[in-house]
């Protein structure tokens, strides 16, 4: 029927293939694509490690030629954010340790615990975070800064005569820096957090990291901005102070982003906790 087929079989296939009737063997794939069980690369890895362990002139030369790294290379050369995180975690651990010491020795007052730690564990005492050490950050630095921003004179004898342009003051406060301020949680979804007061040491995107005064030990606390309302006092003189309130839900920006940002109005159905009474 098909002459061409016949011709191909006779002249071409007989020359090149063993069986001209079946030029392509059915089992041809099985030989090449056969999968063998492996050991997951163990043998080659072992070989490599063995060859590295062997002492030879070549190996020894390589070791001596390696450049000397900077001392404490890995611990120092990490970025500042991870350093801060490590610092916070370390402080939290130390506070926990101090609490456990207080529990074990059944010390119930702050002074006795401080004396005990100072005497028995000087290492812990040095690295324990202390509220009083952070106090000048608020008293000397932040107060001066916020007065400068709001144009409050150094001495305010009569607070009723003080004139502050409210809208511009709010604008300035929205751009101000809150590292070092004393904030107090007044309303919160989580009722356990109401009443926490402390010096802000870091203003992250979604949290305020504060140093708080505890009954026994001072501690670092991480207060989420979401669902909490903060009070901010700016003292004018010994008796009077300005009181501002920060709505944490609307404050969820990185503090560097807040520098050039204008706050816009948003829908406020997530702020129901603000009007709800307990």
């Amino acid at each position: 029927m098909d002459r061409a087929q016949d011709f191909i079989k006779k002249c071409l296939f007989t020359k090149n293939f063993d069986d001209p009737n079946k030029p392509i063997a059915e089992k041809r794939l099985q030989e090449t694509l056969l999968l063998l069980p492996t050991d997951g690369g163990n043998s080659s890895r072992l070989k490599r490690t063995k060859s590295a362990l062997k002492i030879s002139a070549h190996n020894l030369q390589n070791i001596t030629e390696k450049p000397q790294k900077h001392s404490n290379y890995r611990t120092i050369n990490k970025n500042s954010k991870s350093a801060l995180k490590e610092y916070i975690v370390k402080c939290q651990k130390n506070t926990k340790k101090a609490h456990s010491i207080a529990h074990e020795q059944s010390l119930t007052t702050r002074d006795s615990l401080n004396d005990y730690i100072q005497e028995k564990e000087p290492q812990l005492w040095v690295s324990l975070i202390q509220y009083d050490k952070f106090l000048p950050m608020y008293e000397n630095l932040w107060q001066g800064y916020i007065r400068e921003v709001l144009d409050i004179p150094l001495e305010v004898p009569d607070p009723s005569k003080l004139k502050i342009n409210t809208s511009s003051a709010l604008m300035k406060l929205s751009m101000a820096d809150y590292n070092g301020a004393v904030l107090k949680v007044v309303k919160c979804i989580n009722h356990n957090m109401i009443g926490i007061e402390g010096i802000v040491i870091w203003d992250s995107q979604k949290n305020f990291i504060m140093v708080t005064k505890g009954r026994l030990v001072d501690a670092i606390k991480i207060i989420p901005k979401k669902g909490s309302i903060f009070d901010l006092e700016i003292p004018l003189n010994e008796e009077d102070a300005l009181l501002y309130t920060i709505v944490g839900d609307r404050f969820q920006y990185r503090s560097s982003d807040r520098a050039g940002r204008k706050f816009k109005s948003r829908r406020c159905d997530d702020l129901a906790f603000y009007i709800r009474e307990k």
């Binding site: 050369n77 500042s80 801060l84 690295s127 400068e148 590292n179 870091w202």
Partner: protein, 145 residues
């Protein structure tokens, strides 16, 4: 209706530079106040908080200051910039966070080398031109307000 622009006669120096009145107030003063505050905080933190050997807090403040200056396009004086590490944002305090050494270049001129604790090296070729001043050091370029 287009406003009619008033032409003012420009005061021109004999060198050809245009003289203008100094500005009466600082533009975006809040940002500068903020940066100044952050800088002070960081300095205080390095001085007071000795148990934090990595200077995590103070580095973050400086980093924040740097970010604010970038965000608001406000530049810092070279004196300020020289006091912190560009790479790890650490405040450079001699003997504590920075090692200062005097080296000599191949042509025999002095080079001041600052090595930060992170390993970042800053070089100042002080030997080439002893009378060199930065732009802000030269008279009449800066206005104190």
């Amino acid at each position: 209706m287009a406003k009619i622009k008033q032409r003012r006669t420009l005061a021109v120096n004999e060198d050809g530079t245009i003289l203008s009145d100094p500005p009466k107030s600082i533009g975006n003063a809040e940002n500068f106040q903020r940066m100044n505050y952050l800088y002070q905080l960081s300095m205080w933190q390095t001085a007071a908080n000795r148990q934090d050997t990595d200077q995590g807090l103070s580095r973050m403040y400086i980093k924040n200051m740097d970010l604010v200056s970038k965000k608001t396009k406000s530049s810092l004086l070279p004196y300020v910039k020289r006091t912190f590490c560009k790479k790890c944002h650490r405040v450079l305090v001699p003997k504590r966070t920075v090692q200062m050494t005097l080296k000599q270049a191949s042509d025999g001129k002095d080079i001041l080398v600052w090595e930060c604790r992170c390993g970042y090296i800053k070089k100042f070729p002080i030997g080439t031109n002893r009378s060199y001043r930065t732009f802000y050091d030269k008279p009449e370029n800066l206005l104190h307000m």
